[in-house]
Protein backbone atom coordinates (compact mmCIF):
# COMPACT_ATOMS: atom_id res chain seq x y z
CA UNK A 1 0.00 0.00 0.00
CA UNK A 2 2.77 2.36 1.01
CA UNK A 3 4.80 1.46 -2.04
CA UNK A 4 1.75 2.03 -4.20
CA UNK A 5 1.33 5.53 -2.72
CA UNK A 6 5.01 6.23 -3.27
CA UNK A 7 4.80 5.04 -6.84
CA UNK A 8 1.71 7.19 -7.36
CA UNK A 9 3.36 10.32 -5.99
CA UNK A 10 6.40 9.63 -8.14
CA UNK A 11 4.21 9.44 -11.25
CA UNK A 12 2.31 12.58 -10.30
CA UNK A 13 5.43 14.55 -9.51
CA UNK A 14 6.76 13.78 -12.96
CA UNK A 15 3.94 15.87 -14.39
CA UNK A 16 4.47 18.79 -12.04
CA UNK A 17 7.40 20.85 -13.26
CA UNK A 18 9.94 21.73 -10.64
CA UNK A 19 11.38 25.08 -9.70
CA UNK A 20 9.99 28.30 -8.32
CA UNK A 21 8.05 29.00 -11.48
CA UNK A 22 5.19 26.73 -10.59
CA UNK A 23 4.45 28.45 -7.27
CA UNK A 24 4.40 31.87 -8.86
CA UNK A 25 2.24 30.68 -11.74
CA UNK A 26 -0.24 28.99 -9.38
CA UNK A 27 -0.53 32.09 -7.18
CA UNK A 28 -1.22 34.15 -10.30
CA UNK A 29 -3.78 31.67 -11.56
CA UNK A 30 -5.55 31.87 -8.20
CA UNK A 31 -5.84 35.65 -8.40
CA UNK A 32 -7.10 35.63 -11.96
CA UNK A 33 -9.52 32.79 -11.21
CA UNK A 34 -10.91 34.79 -8.30
CA UNK A 35 -11.71 37.75 -10.55
CA UNK A 36 -13.17 35.48 -13.22
CA UNK A 37 -15.46 33.86 -10.65
CA UNK A 38 -16.63 37.30 -9.48
CA UNK A 39 -17.38 38.28 -13.06
CA UNK A 40 -19.18 35.09 -14.04
CA UNK A 41 -21.28 34.74 -10.89
CA UNK A 42 -21.93 38.46 -10.42
CA UNK A 43 -25.74 38.12 -10.65
CA UNK A 44 -25.70 35.46 -7.91
CA UNK A 45 -23.31 37.31 -5.63
CA UNK A 46 -25.33 40.50 -5.35
CA UNK A 47 -28.98 41.45 -5.63
CA UNK A 48 -28.29 45.12 -6.38
CA UNK A 49 -28.35 46.75 -9.80
CA UNK A 50 -24.90 48.33 -10.29
CA UNK A 51 -26.29 51.14 -12.44
CA UNK A 52 -28.95 52.46 -10.06
CA UNK A 53 -28.97 54.20 -6.71
CA UNK A 54 -29.94 51.54 -4.17
CA UNK A 55 -29.01 53.11 -0.87
CA UNK A 56 -28.17 56.36 0.90
CA UNK A 57 -25.45 58.47 -0.66
CA UNK A 58 -21.86 57.82 0.51
CA UNK A 59 -22.66 55.36 3.27
CA UNK A 60 -19.66 53.44 4.65
CA UNK A 61 -19.31 49.66 4.30
CA UNK A 62 -22.01 47.84 6.27
CA UNK A 63 -23.89 44.55 6.23
CA UNK A 64 -26.30 45.97 3.64
CA UNK A 65 -23.59 47.40 1.41
CA UNK A 66 -20.42 45.38 1.85
CA UNK A 67 -18.20 48.02 0.27
CA UNK A 68 -20.37 51.04 0.96
CA UNK A 69 -22.15 53.24 -1.56
CA UNK A 70 -20.96 56.09 -3.77
CA UNK A 71 -22.28 59.63 -4.14
CA UNK A 72 -25.28 58.53 -6.20
CA UNK A 73 -26.07 55.74 -3.77
CA UNK A 74 -24.80 53.00 -6.11
CA UNK A 75 -23.65 49.87 -4.34
CA UNK A 76 -19.84 49.74 -4.65
CA UNK A 77 -19.70 45.96 -4.15
CA UNK A 78 -22.02 45.21 -7.06
CA UNK A 79 -20.13 47.70 -9.23
CA UNK A 80 -16.93 45.80 -8.41
CA UNK A 81 -18.54 42.52 -9.47
CA UNK A 82 -19.96 43.82 -12.74
CA UNK A 83 -16.85 45.90 -13.33
CA UNK A 84 -14.92 42.63 -13.44
CA UNK A 85 -17.04 41.65 -16.43
CA UNK A 86 -16.26 44.90 -18.22
CA UNK A 87 -12.50 44.80 -17.79
CA UNK A 88 -12.22 41.09 -18.59
CA UNK A 89 -14.31 41.39 -21.75
CA UNK A 90 -12.44 44.46 -23.01
CA UNK A 91 -9.01 43.02 -22.23
CA UNK A 92 -9.69 39.60 -23.74
CA UNK A 93 -11.40 41.04 -26.79
CA UNK A 94 -8.52 43.42 -27.44
CA UNK A 95 -5.94 40.67 -26.96
CA UNK A 96 -7.80 38.46 -29.45
CA UNK A 97 -7.78 41.26 -32.00
CA UNK A 98 -4.06 41.93 -31.46
CA UNK A 99 -3.23 38.27 -31.87
CA UNK A 100 -5.39 37.76 -34.93
CA UNK A 101 -3.72 40.73 -36.59
CA UNK A 102 -0.20 40.47 -35.19
CA UNK A 103 0.63 36.77 -35.38
CA UNK A 104 -0.17 36.13 -39.07
CA UNK A 105 1.64 39.33 -40.03
CA UNK A 106 4.66 38.24 -37.99
CA UNK A 107 4.65 34.78 -39.57
CA UNK A 108 4.41 36.17 -43.07
CA UNK A 109 7.00 38.84 -42.38
CA UNK A 110 9.47 36.46 -40.81
CA UNK A 111 9.03 33.69 -43.33
CA UNK A 112 9.07 35.69 -46.53
CA UNK A 113 11.72 38.27 -45.60
CA UNK A 114 12.83 40.88 -48.13
CA UNK A 115 10.66 43.83 -49.08
CA UNK A 116 7.51 42.38 -47.49
CA UNK A 117 9.30 41.94 -44.19
CA UNK A 118 10.83 45.38 -44.27
CA UNK A 119 7.62 47.21 -45.09
CA UNK A 120 5.51 45.42 -42.49
CA UNK A 121 8.25 45.92 -39.91
CA UNK A 122 8.44 49.65 -40.55
CA UNK A 123 4.71 50.03 -39.98
CA UNK A 124 4.86 47.93 -36.82
CA UNK A 125 7.87 49.80 -35.46
CA UNK A 126 6.15 53.11 -36.01
CA UNK A 127 3.24 51.92 -33.86
CA UNK A 128 5.70 50.59 -31.30
CA UNK A 129 7.30 54.01 -30.87
CA UNK A 130 4.21 55.42 -29.16
CA UNK A 131 3.83 54.92 -25.44
CA UNK A 132 1.02 52.37 -25.12
CA UNK A 133 -1.44 54.27 -23.00
CA UNK A 134 -1.04 57.49 -24.95
CA UNK A 135 -1.72 55.79 -28.27
CA UNK A 136 -4.72 54.02 -26.74
CA UNK A 137 -6.02 57.33 -25.39
CA UNK A 138 -5.70 58.97 -28.80
CA UNK A 139 -7.39 56.06 -30.57
CA UNK A 140 -10.18 55.82 -28.01
CA UNK A 141 -10.75 59.57 -28.15
CA UNK A 142 -11.18 59.39 -31.91
CA UNK A 143 -13.33 56.25 -31.89
CA UNK A 144 -15.56 57.32 -29.02
CA UNK A 145 -16.61 55.37 -25.93
CA UNK A 146 -17.93 51.81 -26.04
CA UNK A 147 -16.78 48.31 -25.37
CA UNK A 148 -15.81 47.45 -28.94
CA UNK A 149 -14.11 50.80 -29.53
CA UNK A 150 -12.07 50.56 -26.34
CA UNK A 151 -11.04 47.04 -27.30
CA UNK A 152 -9.92 48.16 -30.74
CA UNK A 153 -7.99 51.09 -29.24
CA UNK A 154 -6.13 48.79 -26.86
CA UNK A 155 -5.69 46.10 -29.53
CA UNK A 156 -3.82 48.46 -31.85
CA UNK A 157 -1.26 49.17 -29.12
CA UNK A 158 -0.38 45.50 -28.73
CA UNK A 159 -0.36 44.30 -32.36
CA UNK A 160 3.42 45.01 -32.61
CA UNK A 161 4.10 42.93 -29.50
CA UNK A 162 2.60 39.82 -31.09
CA UNK A 163 4.05 40.70 -34.44
CA UNK A 164 7.59 40.90 -33.05
CA UNK A 165 7.23 37.69 -31.13
CA UNK A 166 5.87 35.77 -34.14
CA UNK A 167 8.43 37.26 -36.51
CA UNK A 168 11.40 36.56 -34.25
CA UNK A 169 10.34 32.98 -33.62
CA UNK A 170 9.67 32.38 -37.31
CA UNK A 171 13.10 33.68 -38.23
CA UNK A 172 14.79 31.11 -36.00
CA UNK A 173 12.41 28.24 -36.75
CA UNK A 174 12.66 28.59 -40.51
CA UNK A 175 16.37 27.74 -40.35
CA UNK A 176 15.63 24.34 -38.80
CA UNK A 177 16.23 21.20 -40.81
CA UNK A 178 12.64 20.01 -40.72
CA UNK A 179 11.46 23.20 -42.38
CA UNK A 180 14.14 22.76 -45.03
CA UNK A 181 12.87 19.20 -45.50
CA UNK A 182 9.34 20.55 -45.98
CA UNK A 183 10.56 22.87 -48.64
CA UNK A 184 12.55 20.09 -50.29
CA UNK A 185 9.47 17.91 -50.69
CA UNK A 186 7.65 20.85 -52.27
CA UNK A 187 5.36 21.98 -49.46
CA UNK A 188 3.50 25.22 -50.07
CA UNK A 189 4.73 28.20 -48.06
CA UNK A 190 1.28 28.62 -46.56
CA UNK A 191 1.23 25.05 -45.32
CA UNK A 192 4.70 25.34 -43.84
CA UNK A 193 3.94 28.59 -42.05
CA UNK A 194 0.55 27.73 -40.61
CA UNK A 195 0.91 23.97 -40.03
CA UNK A 196 4.55 23.70 -39.03
CA UNK A 197 5.83 27.06 -37.85
CA UNK A 198 2.73 28.30 -36.02
CA UNK A 199 2.45 25.34 -33.58
CA UNK A 200 6.08 25.83 -32.63
CA UNK A 201 5.63 29.40 -31.52
CA UNK A 202 2.75 28.52 -29.19
CA UNK A 203 4.92 27.94 -26.06
CA UNK A 204 6.45 31.40 -26.41
CA UNK A 205 3.04 32.79 -27.21
CA UNK A 206 1.60 31.70 -23.85
CA UNK A 207 4.31 33.60 -21.97
CA UNK A 208 3.98 36.71 -24.11
CA UNK A 209 0.21 36.44 -23.87
CA UNK A 210 0.02 36.47 -20.08
CA UNK A 211 2.60 39.23 -19.64
CA UNK A 212 0.85 41.25 -22.30
CA UNK A 213 -2.60 40.75 -20.80
CA UNK A 214 -1.26 42.14 -17.52
CA UNK A 215 -0.18 45.21 -19.43
CA UNK A 216 -3.51 45.41 -21.24
CA UNK A 217 -5.33 45.33 -17.90
CA UNK A 218 -3.40 48.40 -16.80
CA UNK A 219 -4.03 50.11 -20.14
CA UNK A 220 -7.76 49.43 -19.93
CA UNK A 221 -7.80 50.74 -16.38
CA UNK A 222 -5.93 53.82 -17.59
CA UNK A 223 -8.35 54.42 -20.46
CA UNK A 224 -11.26 53.97 -18.13
CA UNK A 225 -9.59 56.33 -15.63
CA UNK A 226 -9.56 58.91 -18.41
CA UNK A 227 -13.25 58.18 -19.03
CA UNK A 228 -12.53 56.73 -22.47
CA UNK A 229 -13.56 53.12 -22.03
CA UNK A 230 -17.23 52.16 -21.67
CA UNK A 231 -19.82 54.97 -21.30
CA UNK A 232 -20.81 56.22 -17.87
CA UNK A 233 -23.30 54.13 -15.95
CA UNK A 234 -21.67 50.84 -16.99
CA UNK A 235 -19.44 49.77 -14.10
CA UNK A 236 -15.72 49.94 -14.82
CA UNK A 237 -13.01 49.95 -12.15
CA UNK A 238 -10.79 52.68 -13.55
CA UNK A 239 -13.73 55.04 -13.98
CA UNK A 240 -14.97 54.34 -10.46
CA UNK A 241 -11.52 55.03 -9.10
CA UNK A 242 -11.49 58.43 -10.79
CA UNK A 243 -15.05 59.18 -9.71
CA UNK A 244 -14.12 58.45 -6.11
CA UNK A 245 -11.04 60.66 -6.01
CA UNK A 246 -12.79 63.99 -5.23
CA UNK A 247 -14.15 62.44 -2.02
CA UNK A 248 -10.75 61.29 -0.83
CA UNK A 249 -9.90 64.39 1.26
CA UNK A 250 -13.19 63.97 3.15
CA UNK A 251 -12.21 60.45 4.17
CA UNK A 252 -14.52 58.32 2.00
CA UNK A 253 -11.84 55.68 1.60
CA UNK A 254 -14.06 52.88 0.31
CA UNK A 255 -14.73 54.61 -2.98
CA UNK A 256 -11.13 54.26 -4.17
CA UNK A 257 -9.75 51.35 -2.15
CA UNK A 258 -11.78 48.55 -3.69
CA UNK A 259 -11.61 49.38 -7.41
CA UNK A 260 -7.85 49.97 -7.12
CA UNK A 261 -7.28 46.71 -5.27
CA UNK A 262 -9.15 44.79 -7.95
CA UNK A 263 -7.20 46.39 -10.79
CA UNK A 264 -3.82 45.56 -9.32
CA UNK A 265 -4.93 42.09 -8.27
CA UNK A 266 -5.89 41.25 -11.84
CA UNK A 267 -2.71 42.81 -13.25
CA UNK A 268 -0.44 41.09 -10.71
CA UNK A 269 -2.24 37.80 -11.29
CA UNK A 270 -1.52 37.83 -15.02
CA UNK A 271 2.09 39.01 -14.46
CA UNK A 272 2.74 36.19 -12.01
CA UNK A 273 1.35 33.65 -14.48
CA UNK A 274 3.59 35.07 -17.19
CA UNK A 275 6.72 35.15 -15.03
CA UNK A 276 6.03 31.66 -13.71
CA UNK A 277 5.54 30.23 -17.19
CA UNK A 278 8.63 32.05 -18.35
CA UNK A 279 10.76 30.34 -15.71
CA UNK A 280 9.16 26.99 -16.41
CA UNK A 281 9.63 27.11 -20.15
CA UNK A 282 13.13 28.58 -20.10
CA UNK A 283 14.92 27.28 -17.00
CA UNK A 284 18.19 28.93 -17.96
CA UNK A 285 16.52 32.28 -17.31
CA UNK A 286 15.77 31.20 -13.74
CA UNK A 287 19.37 30.26 -13.11
CA UNK A 288 20.62 33.59 -14.31
Amino acid sequence: MVSLALEFSRVVSRFIPRGQGIGIALAGTGMVAFVVVLAVFAPYLTSYDPTRGVGPSLSPPSADHLMGTNRLGYDVYSRILYGAQTILVVVLLSTMISMIAGIPLGLISGYSGGVVDRSISVVMDSIYVFPGLILAIAMAAVLGPGMINASVAIAIVYIPTYFRMARGQTLSIKEQTYIEAMRAIGCKARTIVFRHVLPNILPTLTVVFSLNVADAVLTEAGLSFFGLSVPAPIPDWGYDLRAGQPFLPSGYWWLITFPGLMIIMLAIGFSLIGEGLNELTSPWMAKK
Binding site: Q20, I134, F226, P249, F270, L272
Partner: protein, 310 residues
Protein backbone atom coordinates in the same frame (compact mmCIF):
# COMPACT_ATOMS: atom_id res chain seq x y z
CA UNK B 1 -14.73 61.92 -29.44
CA UNK B 2 -16.97 61.04 -32.37
CA UNK B 3 -18.99 63.74 -34.01
CA UNK B 4 -17.99 66.51 -36.36
CA UNK B 5 -15.34 68.66 -34.68
CA UNK B 6 -16.48 71.64 -36.72
CA UNK B 7 -20.06 71.33 -35.52
CA UNK B 8 -18.83 70.89 -31.97
CA UNK B 9 -16.98 74.20 -32.24
CA UNK B 10 -19.62 76.37 -33.92
CA UNK B 11 -22.72 74.69 -32.50
CA UNK B 12 -25.71 73.26 -34.32
CA UNK B 13 -27.18 76.59 -35.42
CA UNK B 14 -24.23 78.02 -37.33
CA UNK B 15 -24.70 79.20 -40.89
CA UNK B 16 -23.56 77.07 -43.83
CA UNK B 17 -20.94 79.68 -44.79
CA UNK B 18 -19.45 79.77 -41.32
CA UNK B 19 -19.15 75.97 -41.26
CA UNK B 20 -17.58 75.91 -44.73
CA UNK B 21 -15.14 78.62 -43.73
CA UNK B 22 -13.99 76.67 -40.72
CA UNK B 23 -13.70 73.45 -42.70
CA UNK B 24 -11.46 75.24 -45.18
CA UNK B 25 -9.38 76.62 -42.34
CA UNK B 26 -8.88 73.13 -40.92
CA UNK B 27 -7.92 71.76 -44.33
CA UNK B 28 -10.89 69.40 -44.46
CA UNK B 29 -12.07 70.79 -47.81
CA UNK B 30 -10.26 72.46 -50.69
CA UNK B 31 -10.77 76.09 -51.83
CA UNK B 32 -13.87 75.17 -53.80
CA UNK B 33 -15.47 73.50 -50.84
CA UNK B 34 -15.06 69.92 -52.06
CA UNK B 35 -14.05 67.38 -49.43
CA UNK B 36 -10.32 66.61 -49.49
CA UNK B 37 -9.35 62.95 -49.63
CA UNK B 38 -7.79 61.58 -46.43
CA UNK B 39 -4.37 60.93 -47.90
CA UNK B 40 -4.11 64.58 -48.97
CA UNK B 41 -5.13 65.74 -45.50
CA UNK B 42 -2.50 63.44 -44.06
CA UNK B 43 0.16 64.69 -46.45
CA UNK B 44 -0.71 68.29 -45.53
CA UNK B 45 -0.43 67.48 -41.86
CA UNK B 46 2.87 65.68 -42.27
CA UNK B 47 4.34 68.53 -44.30
CA UNK B 48 3.28 70.96 -41.58
CA UNK B 49 4.77 68.82 -38.82
CA UNK B 50 8.14 69.01 -40.53
CA UNK B 51 7.84 72.78 -40.56
CA UNK B 52 7.13 72.73 -36.82
CA UNK B 53 3.49 73.58 -37.38
CA UNK B 54 1.13 71.31 -35.48
CA UNK B 55 -1.91 73.36 -36.40
CA UNK B 56 -3.99 75.55 -34.14
CA UNK B 57 -5.97 74.47 -31.15
CA UNK B 58 -9.71 74.35 -31.80
CA UNK B 59 -10.69 76.09 -28.57
CA UNK B 60 -9.92 79.12 -26.41
CA UNK B 61 -8.19 81.64 -28.62
CA UNK B 62 -7.02 78.98 -31.07
CA UNK B 63 -3.38 79.21 -30.11
CA UNK B 64 -0.85 77.13 -32.05
CA UNK B 65 -0.77 73.60 -30.64
CA UNK B 66 3.02 73.72 -30.43
CA UNK B 67 2.87 76.66 -28.00
CA UNK B 68 0.15 74.99 -25.95
CA UNK B 69 2.26 71.85 -25.71
CA UNK B 70 5.39 73.81 -24.81
CA UNK B 71 3.41 75.41 -21.97
CA UNK B 72 2.67 72.04 -20.45
CA UNK B 73 5.76 70.05 -21.35
CA UNK B 74 8.18 71.41 -18.70
CA UNK B 75 5.90 70.25 -15.86
CA UNK B 76 5.89 66.75 -17.31
CA UNK B 77 9.65 66.79 -17.82
CA UNK B 78 10.24 67.92 -14.25
CA UNK B 79 8.04 65.15 -12.89
CA UNK B 80 9.67 62.60 -15.18
CA UNK B 81 13.18 63.56 -14.08
CA UNK B 82 12.39 63.27 -10.38
CA UNK B 83 10.47 60.06 -10.92
CA UNK B 84 13.47 58.74 -12.81
CA UNK B 85 15.80 59.59 -9.89
CA UNK B 86 13.53 57.84 -7.41
CA UNK B 87 13.23 54.77 -9.59
CA UNK B 88 16.99 54.59 -10.16
CA UNK B 89 17.66 54.92 -6.44
CA UNK B 90 15.21 52.17 -5.53
CA UNK B 91 15.74 50.00 -8.58
CA UNK B 92 19.52 50.08 -8.56
CA UNK B 93 19.89 49.26 -4.87
CA UNK B 94 17.28 46.52 -5.09
CA UNK B 95 19.02 45.06 -8.14
CA UNK B 96 22.48 45.14 -6.57
CA UNK B 97 21.31 43.54 -3.32
CA UNK B 98 19.34 40.96 -5.26
CA UNK B 99 22.32 40.01 -7.44
CA UNK B 100 24.72 39.98 -4.52
CA UNK B 101 22.53 37.70 -2.41
CA UNK B 102 21.41 35.57 -5.31
CA UNK B 103 18.97 32.75 -4.52
CA UNK B 104 18.42 33.85 -0.93
CA UNK B 105 15.15 34.92 0.64
CA UNK B 106 15.94 38.60 0.09
CA UNK B 107 16.64 37.91 -3.59
CA UNK B 108 13.31 36.12 -3.96
CA UNK B 109 11.51 38.92 -2.15
CA UNK B 110 13.11 41.59 -4.29
CA UNK B 111 12.34 39.68 -7.49
CA UNK B 112 8.73 39.42 -6.41
CA UNK B 113 8.83 43.16 -5.79
CA UNK B 114 10.08 43.56 -9.36
CA UNK B 115 7.07 41.72 -10.72
CA UNK B 116 4.47 43.20 -8.42
CA UNK B 117 5.55 46.83 -8.49
CA UNK B 118 5.17 47.01 -12.26
CA UNK B 119 1.58 45.88 -11.98
CA UNK B 120 0.68 48.56 -9.43
CA UNK B 121 -1.85 50.91 -10.95
CA UNK B 122 -0.33 54.39 -10.65
CA UNK B 123 -3.50 56.38 -9.85
CA UNK B 124 -4.35 54.00 -7.06
CA UNK B 125 -0.92 54.13 -5.46
CA UNK B 126 -1.01 57.90 -5.83
CA UNK B 127 -4.39 58.10 -4.11
CA UNK B 128 -3.20 55.87 -1.27
CA UNK B 129 -0.25 58.22 -0.78
CA UNK B 130 -2.60 61.20 -0.87
CA UNK B 131 -4.86 59.57 1.68
CA UNK B 132 -2.02 58.57 4.01
CA UNK B 133 0.62 61.29 3.74
CA UNK B 134 -1.44 64.28 2.70
CA UNK B 135 -4.91 63.91 4.19
CA UNK B 136 -4.23 61.88 7.34
CA UNK B 137 -0.69 62.91 8.27
CA UNK B 138 -0.69 66.29 6.55
CA UNK B 139 3.00 65.97 5.65
CA UNK B 140 2.73 66.94 1.98
CA UNK B 141 0.24 68.81 -0.17
CA UNK B 142 -2.50 66.69 -1.75
CA UNK B 143 -2.10 67.98 -5.29
CA UNK B 144 -0.72 70.72 -7.51
CA UNK B 145 2.75 71.87 -8.42
CA UNK B 146 3.43 74.84 -6.16
CA UNK B 147 1.75 76.60 -3.25
CA UNK B 148 -0.96 79.12 -4.14
CA UNK B 149 0.25 82.70 -4.42
CA UNK B 150 3.80 81.67 -5.20
CA UNK B 151 5.28 82.59 -8.53
CA UNK B 152 8.40 81.33 -10.26
CA UNK B 153 9.98 83.29 -13.06
CA UNK B 154 9.92 81.28 -16.29
CA UNK B 155 13.43 80.38 -17.43
CA UNK B 156 13.51 76.65 -18.10
CA UNK B 157 9.97 75.93 -16.96
CA UNK B 158 11.26 73.48 -14.36
CA UNK B 159 10.21 75.05 -11.06
CA UNK B 160 13.03 73.59 -8.99
CA UNK B 161 15.71 74.78 -11.41
CA UNK B 162 14.08 78.16 -11.96
CA UNK B 163 13.62 78.90 -8.27
CA UNK B 164 17.27 78.03 -7.58
CA UNK B 165 18.37 80.24 -10.47
CA UNK B 166 16.33 83.18 -9.23
CA UNK B 167 17.16 82.51 -5.57
CA UNK B 168 13.49 82.15 -4.70
CA UNK B 169 13.83 79.83 -1.70
CA UNK B 170 10.19 79.81 -0.57
CA UNK B 171 9.16 78.71 -4.04
CA UNK B 172 11.90 76.08 -4.06
CA UNK B 173 10.71 74.65 -0.75
CA UNK B 174 7.11 74.64 -1.90
CA UNK B 175 7.78 73.03 -5.26
CA UNK B 176 9.98 70.35 -3.69
CA UNK B 177 7.25 69.54 -1.19
CA UNK B 178 4.76 69.24 -4.04
CA UNK B 179 7.11 66.96 -5.93
CA UNK B 180 7.56 64.36 -3.19
CA UNK B 181 4.37 62.33 -3.54
CA UNK B 182 4.05 62.37 -7.35
CA UNK B 183 7.68 61.45 -7.92
CA UNK B 184 7.52 58.72 -5.28
CA UNK B 185 4.43 57.29 -6.94
CA UNK B 186 5.98 57.34 -10.38
CA UNK B 187 9.37 56.15 -9.12
CA UNK B 188 8.10 53.18 -7.17
CA UNK B 189 6.02 51.83 -10.02
CA UNK B 190 8.88 52.12 -12.53
CA UNK B 191 11.57 50.91 -10.09
CA UNK B 192 10.53 47.28 -10.47
CA UNK B 193 11.58 47.24 -14.11
CA UNK B 194 14.89 48.90 -13.24
CA UNK B 195 15.61 46.49 -10.41
CA UNK B 196 15.27 43.54 -12.79
CA UNK B 197 17.55 45.20 -15.35
CA UNK B 198 20.16 45.98 -12.69
CA UNK B 199 19.98 42.49 -11.25
CA UNK B 200 20.61 40.80 -14.61
CA UNK B 201 23.37 43.20 -15.50
CA UNK B 202 25.07 42.84 -12.11
CA UNK B 203 24.88 39.05 -12.24
CA UNK B 204 26.60 39.08 -15.58
CA UNK B 205 29.44 41.25 -14.32
CA UNK B 206 29.77 39.37 -11.03
CA UNK B 207 30.41 36.14 -12.93
CA UNK B 208 33.38 37.60 -14.79
CA UNK B 209 37.00 36.70 -14.14
CA UNK B 210 38.14 40.04 -12.76
CA UNK B 211 35.60 39.73 -9.94
CA UNK B 212 36.88 36.24 -9.10
CA UNK B 213 40.41 37.63 -9.17
CA UNK B 214 39.42 40.46 -6.83
CA UNK B 215 37.78 38.00 -4.48
CA UNK B 216 40.90 35.80 -4.58
CA UNK B 217 43.00 38.74 -3.50
CA UNK B 218 40.71 39.10 -0.52
CA UNK B 219 39.21 42.48 -1.33
CA UNK B 220 36.29 43.39 0.90
CA UNK B 221 32.89 42.64 -0.59
CA UNK B 222 31.98 46.35 -0.56
CA UNK B 223 34.87 47.20 -2.89
CA UNK B 224 34.03 44.29 -5.17
CA UNK B 225 30.45 45.49 -5.48
CA UNK B 226 31.67 48.97 -6.31
CA UNK B 227 33.86 47.56 -9.07
CA UNK B 228 31.01 45.45 -10.40
CA UNK B 229 28.54 48.32 -10.31
CA UNK B 230 30.86 50.52 -12.30
CA UNK B 231 31.00 47.92 -15.05
CA UNK B 232 27.33 47.07 -14.92
CA UNK B 233 26.26 50.67 -15.01
CA UNK B 234 26.63 51.28 -18.74
CA UNK B 235 24.17 48.61 -19.87
CA UNK B 236 21.87 49.52 -16.98
CA UNK B 237 21.80 53.16 -17.97
CA UNK B 238 21.19 52.28 -21.60
CA UNK B 239 18.31 50.01 -20.84
CA UNK B 240 16.87 52.59 -18.47
CA UNK B 241 16.93 55.12 -21.27
CA UNK B 242 14.96 52.73 -23.42
CA UNK B 243 12.28 52.61 -20.73
CA UNK B 244 11.57 56.28 -21.33
CA UNK B 245 8.22 55.50 -22.93
CA UNK B 246 7.19 53.66 -19.80
CA UNK B 247 8.22 56.62 -17.69
CA UNK B 248 6.20 59.02 -19.85
CA UNK B 249 3.08 56.85 -19.70
CA UNK B 250 3.50 56.70 -15.96
CA UNK B 251 3.90 60.45 -15.79
CA UNK B 252 0.61 60.96 -17.65
CA UNK B 253 -1.26 58.90 -15.09
CA UNK B 254 0.59 60.44 -12.16
CA UNK B 255 -0.27 63.92 -13.39
CA UNK B 256 -3.98 63.29 -13.65
CA UNK B 257 -3.94 61.81 -10.15
CA UNK B 258 -2.11 64.77 -8.59
CA UNK B 259 -3.63 67.57 -10.75
CA UNK B 260 -0.10 68.22 -11.99
CA UNK B 261 -0.43 70.79 -14.78
CA UNK B 262 1.54 68.86 -17.42
CA UNK B 263 0.81 66.97 -20.61
CA UNK B 264 -1.43 64.41 -18.91
CA UNK B 265 -3.78 67.02 -17.54
CA UNK B 266 -3.60 68.84 -20.88
CA UNK B 267 -4.60 65.68 -22.77
CA UNK B 268 -7.46 64.99 -20.40
CA UNK B 269 -8.75 68.56 -20.68
CA UNK B 270 -8.56 68.63 -24.48
CA UNK B 271 -10.25 65.26 -24.87
CA UNK B 272 -13.21 66.66 -22.96
CA UNK B 273 -13.43 69.61 -25.37
CA UNK B 274 -12.92 67.52 -28.52
CA UNK B 275 -9.84 69.52 -29.40
CA UNK B 276 -8.59 67.12 -32.09
CA UNK B 277 -5.60 69.13 -33.20
CA UNK B 278 -4.21 69.46 -29.68
CA UNK B 279 -4.68 65.76 -29.10
CA UNK B 280 -2.99 64.87 -32.38
CA UNK B 281 -0.17 67.33 -31.73
CA UNK B 282 0.54 65.97 -28.25
CA UNK B 283 0.78 62.42 -29.54
CA UNK B 284 3.18 63.52 -32.27
CA UNK B 285 5.32 65.35 -29.69
CA UNK B 286 5.43 62.26 -27.52
CA UNK B 287 6.57 60.11 -30.43
CA UNK B 288 9.26 62.63 -31.36
CA UNK B 289 10.51 62.81 -27.77
CA UNK B 290 10.75 59.05 -27.46
CA UNK B 291 12.57 58.70 -30.76
CA UNK B 292 15.00 61.43 -29.71
CA UNK B 293 15.73 59.82 -26.36
CA UNK B 294 16.34 56.45 -28.05
CA UNK B 295 18.72 58.11 -30.46
CA UNK B 296 20.62 59.90 -27.69
CA UNK B 297 20.84 56.68 -25.68
CA UNK B 298 22.25 54.83 -28.66
CA UNK B 299 24.84 57.53 -29.24
CA UNK B 300 25.87 57.61 -25.58
CA UNK B 301 26.13 53.84 -25.55
CA UNK B 302 28.40 53.80 -28.57
CA UNK B 303 30.50 56.56 -27.01
CA UNK B 304 30.86 54.86 -23.63
CA UNK B 305 31.46 51.37 -24.97
CA UNK B 306 33.96 51.43 -27.85
CA UNK B 307 33.07 47.85 -28.82
CA UNK B 308 29.70 49.07 -30.11
CA UNK B 309 29.81 50.39 -33.66
CA UNK B 310 26.87 51.27 -35.84
Amino acid sequence: MPGDPVLSIVGMHASEEHILELRRELGLVDVNGNPKPLYLQFADYLANVFRGNLGNSLIWGKRPVLLEVLDHLPATIELTIWGFFVSIAIGLSAGVVSAHRRATISDQALRLYGIVSYALFIPWIGMLFQMLFAVNLGLFPVAGRIGSGLYVEHITGLYVVDSVLTGNWTALYSSLRHLVLPSLTLGIVISGVFSRLSRNSMLEVLSQDFITAARARGLPERVILAHALKNAFIPILTMMGLQFALLLTGAILTETTFSWPGMGSFLLERITYRDYTSLQGSVVIFAIMISLVSLVVDVIYAYMDPRIRF
